[in-house]
C-alpha cells in the first residue's frame, strides 16, 4: 500500500540532506509539541502551578521552530523547484507545521487554564474524564507523529479513525458538564473552564487528524480531506 519515497536517492546530495533535515526538524518540533501537551495535562491533573506556567510561557519555542521550518521550505521551493513526491513532502510539511503550531497553542491554553483552575480549587473528580480524554489525545498525537516518521498510511488512517472516538468522548464530557451546571449554577464558572480544556484537547485531536490526512496525501498523492467515509473507503481501496 505505501510507496517508498526514497528521500535519500536524489542525484543532488545536498538536496537529500536538506529534505532529511527538514523532516527531522518537523519531528523535533512534533516532539516539542508532544512534550507541551504532556506537561499541560500533568499541570491540569496534578494542579502543579509551576509546570502550568512553564507550559504557558514556552510556546514561543514552538512558534520559532515553525518560522524556521517555514523558511527552509520556502528556500527549497525557490531553489530546488521540487516536483512529485518532493513537492508533496514540502507542501505537507508546510501544512503540518501550521497544525503543530496550533497544537502548541492549544497546549499553551491548557497551561493557562490549569493555573486558573488551580486558583479556583475545582474538585478533583471532574478531571477523571479530562484525564482520560487527555491520554487519548496524547496517544493520538504520538501515533500521528509516528506515522509521519514512518510515512505509514495505514497508521495514519487508524489515527484518523481514533479522532472520532475523541469527538465522542468530548461530547460526553460536554453533556456531563451541562448537567452539572444545571444542577448547581455556582459551578458554571469552573465547568466552563473545564469545558475549555476539553475543547482544547478535542482541537488537538482534530489537528492531529489533519496531519494524518497530509501524510496520506504525501504518500499516496490523494487528497482525502473533507470527503465522506464511503468515498474515502473507495479512494483508499
Amino acid at each position: 500500500m505505501d510507496k517508498d519515497l526514497h528521500l535519500a536517492h536524489h542525484i543532488s546530495r545536498r538536496f537529500n540532506a536538506e529534505l532529511e533535515e527538514l523532516r527531522s526538524d518537523v519531528l523535533a518540533m512534533g516532539g516539542l509539541v508532544e512534550k507541551q501537551l504532556a506537561d499541560g495535562l500533568v499541570a491540569l491533573t496534578t494542579s502543579d502551578t509551576e509546570i502550568a506556567e512553564q507550559v504557558a510561557t514556552s510556546d514561543y519555542k514552538v512558534n520559532s521552530m515553525e518560522v524556521a521550518i517555514d523558511e527552509k521550505c520556502n528556500q527549497i521551493l525557490a531553489r530546488r523547484q521540487p516536483a512529485a513526491s518532493d513537492l508533496r513532502l514540502v507542501v505537507t510539511i508546510i501544512k503540518t507545521i501550521t497544525d503543530l503550531e496550533r497544537i502548541g497553542d492549544e497546549a499553551e491554553k491548557l497551561g493557562q487554564l490549569a493555573v486558573q483552575i488551580t486558583d479556583a480549587n475545582v474538585s478533583y473528580s471532574q478531571f477523571v474524564e479530562i484525564r482520560h480524554l487527555g491520554d487519548h489525545v496524547k496517544s493520538m498525537l504520538h501515533d500521528c507523529l509516528d506515522a509521519f516518521a514512518r510515512m505509514d498510511v495505514a497508521d495514519a488512517m487508524r489515527t484518523i479513525e481514533a479522532d472520532k472516538k475523541i469527538n465522542e468522548e468530548f461530547e460526553s464530557i460536554m453533556r456531563q458538564l451541562i448537567t452539572r451546571m444545571m444542577e448547581d449554577p455556582r459551578e458554571i464558572k469552573n465547568a466552563l473552564r473545564v469545558s475549555w480544556c476539553a475543547r482544547a484537547l478535542e482541537r488537538i485531536g482534530d489537528h492531529s487528524s489533519n496531519i494524518c490526512e497530509y501524510i496520506v496525501y504525501l504518500v499516496e498523492g490523494k487528497n482525502i480531506r473533507h470527503i465522506s467515509d464511503v468515498k474515502l473507503s473507495q479512494e483508499m481501496a
Binding site: 542525484i11 543532488s12 523532516r23 527531522s24 508532544e34 516536483a83 509516528d146
Partner: protein, 296 residues
C-alpha cells in the same frame, strides 16, 4: 520520556529509509516488466494524430518499443525523458522526418485525422506541410526575414500574387509574435536576429504553410530564460489553433506549457497523463525518479 520519543522516532525514520532501499532493489525486476505497459491514459478525447503500437528500428537496433499515444486537438503534449530515450525519434516519426535516414524503419500505425501517414497514398511532402516541425537549433535560411517566412508559401504555391504573399508573411510573423520587432527590416537577413527571434522566425516559417500539427524538438533549449518565456507564451497561444507536441529536456518547461505529459524511458512510453498529475503524483517509479532528479 518525551525526549526519548524523539530519538526513537528519528531512529524509526532512519530504519524506514534503510528498509525502503532494500525494497527498491527487489523492485527493479518488477519495474522492468512493468515498463512494457504504459501507465496512464494515452488516448485523447478528440484526437488529431494517433500512434498505435509504433516500433522504430535503426538497423537492427530497436529505438522505440510499442508506443501508443494520441495528440489531441488544441492540446500541447510534452514528451520528456532522459537523453536517448527515443522521444525525438518518436516525434520525427509523426511527420516522417525519419524517412531521410535510410536505416530507420517504422512499424505500427500513425494516423493524421484517421489517415495512415505511412500509407503509400500519403505523400511525405504533403504530410510535412500539414505537420510542421520546429527544431532545437534555430535554423533560419540564410535569406531575408521575408523570404524565410515566404519560402513555404512559395514552395507549395499558396499565394497567387505578391499581395497574398505579403499577407501570409505578415500574419505568420504576427502569430509568432515577431512582427513588431522586425517590421522595419523584413528584407534584412534572418540570421542577423537574436537566438530567440530566430526561433520565432522559424515558428513563423512553419505556421506560414498553415499546418494542422506543430512538432517542436526542444525549441527553447538554446535560448535564454526570457526568450524561452516568450516562446512558451507563444506555444500556449498557438494551442488555440494547432495541435502541438513538444520534446523538452526542461521539466519545468513541460510542466508550464503542456496539458498532457508523456514520459519515455529506453524507447518505451512509461507513463502518460495530465501534466498536473505527472508533476505532483506520478504513478510510475521511473517517472518519479526522473522528474524529482533521483537515480533510479
Amino acid at each position: 520520556m518525551v525526549e526519548t520519543d524523539i530519538n526513537m522516532r528519528t531512529e524509526l525514520m532512519e530504519s524506514t529509509q534503510v528498509q525502503s532501499v532494500d525494497r527498491s532493489d527487489t523492485k527493479v525486476a518488477d519495474m522492468k516488466q512493468q515498463v512494457n505497459a504504459t501507465i496512464g491514459e494515452p488516448f485523447a478525447k478528440d484526437p488529431k494524430m494517433q500512434a498505435r503500437q509504433v516500433n522504430v528500428y535503426y538497423g537492427n537496433k530497436q529505438a522505440i518499443f510499442n508506443v501508443s499515444l494520441d495528440l489531441g486537438k488544441n492540446e500541447v503534449v510534452a514528451l520528456i525523458g532522459p537523453s536517448g530515450c527515443g522521444k525525438s525519434t518518436f516525434l520525427r516519426c509523426m511527420n516522417r522526418m525519419n524517412d531521410t535516414i535510410p536505416i530507420c524503419r517504422v512499424e505500427g500505425n500513425i494516423t493524421l485525422d484517421s489517415e495512415d501517414i505511412y500509407a503509400d497514398a500519403m505523400d511525405p511532402v504533403l504530410l510535412r506541410a500539414r505537420v510542421g516541425m520546429v527544431f532545437q537549433k534555430p535554423n533560419p535560411f540564410p535569406k531575408s526575414i521575408y523570404d524565410n517566412v515566404a519560402y513555404g508559401a512559395r514552395l507549395h504555391g499558396l499565394a497567387f500574387n505578391k499581395a497574398e504573399l505579403d499577407e501570409i508573411v505578415i500574419t505568420s510573423l504576427q502569430k509568432a509574435g515577431l512582427f513588431d520587432e522586425v517590421k522595419d527590416r523584413l528584407h534584412e537577413p534572418g540570421t542577423g536576429l537574436s537566438g530567440g527571434q530566430q526561433q520565432r522566425l522559424c515558428i513563423a516559417r512553419t505556421i506560414a504553410v498553415s499546418p494542422e500539427v506543430i512538432l517542436m524538438d526542444e525549441p527553447a533549449s538554446a535560448l535564454d530564460p526570457i526568450a524561452t518565456a516568450i516562446i512558451e507564451e507563444l506555444i500556449d497561444e498557438l494551442r488555440q489553433n494547432y495541435t502541438i507536441a513538444i520534446v523538452t529536456h526542461s521539466m519545468q518547461q513541460a510542466a508550464r506549457v503542456s496539458q498532457r505529459t508523456a514520459y519515455f524511458h529506453l524507447g518505451k512510453l512509461v507513463e502518460i497523463g495530465e501534466t498536473n498529475q505527472i508533476f505532483t503524483n506520478p504513478k510510475h517509479e521511473l517517472t518519479e525518479n526522473y522528474i524529482t532528479g533521483r537515480f533510479g
